[in-house]
Symmetry: C2
Subunit: 398 residues, 2 copies
Amino acid sequence: MESSYIADRTSDGGMNRLTLNDDDKKVREWFIDQVKNYGCTVTVDKIGNIFAIRPGKNNALPPIGLGSHLDTQPAGGKYDGIVGVLSALEVLKTLHDNNVETYAPIAVIDWTNEEGARFSPAMMGSGVWAGVFTPEWAYSRTDLKGAKFGEELERIGFKGDTPVSYEANKLSAHFEVHIEQGPVLQAENKPVAVVVGVQAMSWFSVELRGREQHCGTTPMDSRADTLLTAAQMIVAINAVALATPGGLASVAVINATPQAINTLASHVQFNIDVRARDDALLALLEAEIAEKCEEIAAAAQVKIEVWDRFWTSPRTTFDETMVSMVRQSASDGGFAFREIQSGAGHDSVYTAKRVPTAMIFIRCKDGISHNPAEYSTPEDIAAGAEVLLGAVLRYDAY
Amino acid sequence: MESSYIADRTSDGGMNRLTLNDDDKKVREWFIDQVKNYGCTVTVDKIGNIFAIRPGKNNALPPIGLGSHLDTQPAGGKYDGIVGVLSALEVLKTLHDNNVETYAPIAVIDWTNEEGARFSPAMMGSGVWAGVFTPEWAYSRTDLKGAKFGEELERIGFKGDTPVSYEANKLSAHFEVHIEQGPVLQAENKPVAVVVGVQAMSWFSVELRGREQHCGTTPMDSRADTLLTAAQMIVAINAVALATPGGLASVAVINATPQAINTLASHVQFNIDVRARDDALLALLEAEIAEKCEEIAAAAQVKIEVWDRFWTSPRTTFDETMVSMVRQSASDGGFAFREIQSGAGHDSVYTAKRVPTAMIFIRCKDGISHNPAEYSTPEDIAAGAEVLLGAVLRYDAY
Ligand SMILES: NC(=O)NCCC(=O)O
Ligand SMILES: NC(=O)NCCC(=O)O
């Protein structure tokens, strides 16, 4: 049957600013306009990361980075990433309005394609900058319609000249404000958190092959029903994660073919998102999931043609000095806070590979994210920006 | 992840002659060319059904229909439907080459959209002819890309002038040869079967709504994971059918949205194909499936937004006189045969509502159908055509 509900998916006030679409172009142009008000020069690198640099006393020093992202999920909210860039702009504005000259220059950064929703994997712009992916590999990534990342980047006019590299385009540190995207701060009634690290995660693509068979004439016990097998795997993957405290596993993307109501699917592709509090638990979870899926496939006469862990990110631990500056800033600001490990990936995961990095989380309503209903109060966002400013000034003094 | 395997789905020699695509246009033109060799006039009705009529002695009589279909599944074989039309052409050729003048005229029919794979439901052309669907409703049906049946029919130039109606465009009877699409004849080593009827069947469209949630931050126990719920339903639907001898249930089409690897699906649409040997068992199976799915949805905090039985076809019993003519023809021809009830739907289901109807099945390899590997031997096909000829001549004499 035709499905009619896809078109209205952001009618509820959500965002559909998928990486490199026309809205992404517009918000980038808006961002460049804004930073010009605060005496910044703008640099765009070859992967579209935008660096807005406000000079300091000593411009031979690499800038202190304050970054996050402006792209969203296909049915995303108005806070994930965006609050990080706006907090950084708020820091710029405060410095500017108060004529504060920092010792080091400050760079406010819009990292390209943090979400990984249109072009996987996530945190691509910061990943290329950190040398984890090559620009060529990133350019070759395609979306569900076959559009290439590199071509879309040129189309919106954001393939810059600056090399994408932590060596050629240096930062001295990276701070990031982000909504928590989880329920902990709300439960503990605290506006902000000091983020000490990010959990381990990996993404898989799985392809199964069974047989096209007539739904009306093939006995139930002589089928190689590929969609049924995928469904059994999805149920099993969920059960493994439910039985593993500290672990998560999710299947959110599925494609079956030939999509005819009276012909059993012969090919099914799906993705798995696996996460765990540390690398050992992630490895365990991945192994259990693989084992269960192999058992299911064998029993079903369905072949696992592809089992591809196409992206993984080990647990990240942020720099202790940077974390203590955030902690000090939150404490001196009089904010109730706690320390937390992030469940979501962030650009800071990749900057942390190259420069001292820390993050600040802001409480968000009911832990909802990747959803139009995402929400944080203006007061909590202001608290996050204030903690950021304090941490940046502390780092600049240090 | 992008899926790349869809394009090659008929590289293995299968057919992709989906209703009203360019290949369907070509085969229709070929069909019209062929029948002109046998002294036929051609009529195309408003739904694209093609009637090739060879006059008899008494042309005031409605013609005896010999019909099936030339459309295929998206990754279909070369036999399903096609063998029925070719057998009918073979009968025409035999009458023509031997200068046989029948008493009644003979109509060889290519019914439009038997498969229902591109535009659901199945058996649409014969269904409109039988008055089960209106032409307007058929025109409004859309494929997965949103193309309308009516517009595609005009595009390929096969929207004719003849009214689509068993009253305005009469037949006196309908015979159909078809491959069995099941394993019974091969197991019993018989070339043909006399079809006594068709099992009951119905098609559902189901739409579920849960919540978009972040895969990396949403605890396993606080999710409304719509794709997981759909997977649990698919597993349960299969279990219900496995536990119901005489019943079948299959899920072959699924659409999840927003299709982002790190956002739980919030909407899932899937279809169910339910069949049973009789109407009472079909009703039982449908009720059990609905009950199980309601339980699953309730436990998952996911809402069943649509549960639409958009098509159903009760068990069909063919006309006893017609069936006995087929039986007599098979027996006199010296063919080993058995009687059988069809698992698949056929145009004969709808003609049977209006005129005496019977079918002949041909053995097919391993019961495989709706698959490029579909196969019947030339000998078995010849047997089917011979039985058809004998039955038609018997009916004409009667
Ligand atoms: N913060 C965020 O939602 N990032 C997207 C990458 C992920 O799935 O964790
Ligand atoms: N014969 C055949 O495959 N018809 C399609 C309708 C059905 O699914 O039974």
